[in-house]
């Protein structure tokens, strides 16, 4: 059924989303951690680590860390909105920076898939340290839903 939002019916939803989050090697490398499911919203944390720094003069973490984090958590919000969990793929993501992240502090993000159809999901996400009312960045993204492909699809040569 299209157009309906389910927000993770049945089962241990928190464990399911947490497992998907930790399934991603890059997410594990950056230390992404699911902290809370708040209804349809996914809340997660990325720890401040010296290797995440993008500006060695100020110690501010790289935009790339925030982008990867917001992309990941937005995908998780899409999965949460699906009746049957399946792979998703980002179509596009736009990120607006309100300010630099505070050096030395972990960054949190909250994402909400506010509309999901048969093919495309629409997601908003915000990165912050303490409160969404003092945001670091805001992301708007779209995802292909049911983007499941064959195991090892990227290892095969394309047919000419």
């Amino acid at each position: 059924m299209s157009g309906e939002t389910h927000y993770g019916e049945g089962g241990d939803v928190f464990e399911r989303v947490k497992t998907m989050m930790e399934w991603t090697p890059q997410g594990r490398a950056l230390g992404f951690e699911l902290t809370k499911l708040d209804g349809a919203k996914v809340v997660a944390r990325v720890p401040y680590r010296p290797e995440h720094v993008g500006d060695p003069e100020t110690g501010v973490i790289a935009g790339g860390v925030i982008t990867t984090f917001l992309d990941q958590i937005s995908g998780m919000a899409t999965v949460l909105a699906m009746k049957e969990p399946a792979m998703v793929a980002t179509i596009d993501i736009r990120i607006d920076y309100m300010r630099a992240a505070t050096p030395g502090r972990d960054v949190f993000a909250e994402a909400h898939c506010y509309k999901i159809g048969r093919n495309v999901a629409f997601v908003r996400a915000i990165a912050f340290e303490d409160s969404v009312d003092n945001p670091i960045a805001h992301a708007t993204s779209t995802f292909m839903v049911n983007a499941t492909r064959k195991f090892g699809a990227n290892l095969r040569e394309k047919k000419k």
């Binding site: 890059q26 594990r28 290797e51 060695p56 982008t67 793929a89 179509i91 736009r94």
Partner: protein
């Protein structure tokens, strides 16, 4: 050391660039960033595919470094907004990115970037963004 070589060296001093394993190649004033494949860059281990955020990060790093070269600034510009379009799944191979500075204004610059793998004309992702020029904050009151 030329200004370009200094910027390539500056890139090497960014811890996050080291975390990704990014390498800079300069031909004249045109910069290509190379991201050699590594297992920790994967987003989807089944396919396997690079994490979209990693490809985005590569393009953003290319954009700010190319912009620093174009604006003859020693400082990296700050990101205001960036949009990323994903065109193809990132395969577990080396990825390249180049950026084009579309316009440098007094305070803000507009930059586009593309990332590709096997074929330059088959980009896997594209970026466009606005950046606050690095030297501006020292000028403002």
């Amino acid at each position: 050391m030329s200004p370009q070589e200094r910027l390539a060296a500056a890139l090497a001093r960014i811890p996050y660039a080291t975390f990704l394993g990014v390498r800079a190649e300069l031909k004249g004033d045109e910069l290509t960033l190379v991201l050699p494949y590594a297992d920790h860059l994967v987003g989807n281990p089944l396919l396997p595919a690079l994490h979209g955020g990693v490809v985005a990060a590569l393009m953003e790093l290319t954009a700010i470094t190319q912009l620093a070269i174009a604006s003859k600034s020693e400082k990296f510009p700050k990101t205001i907004d960036v949009g990323f379009d994903y065109l193809r799944s990132g395969k577990p191979v080396d990825t390249y990115a180049r950026a084009r500075v579309v316009k440098i204004g007094r305070r803000i610059a507009n930059v586009q970037a593309e990332a590709w793998q096997g074929q330059r004309h088959e980009p896997i992702a594209a970026m466009h963004g606005h950046f606050l020029l690095g030297d501006e904050e020292t000028k403002s009151p």
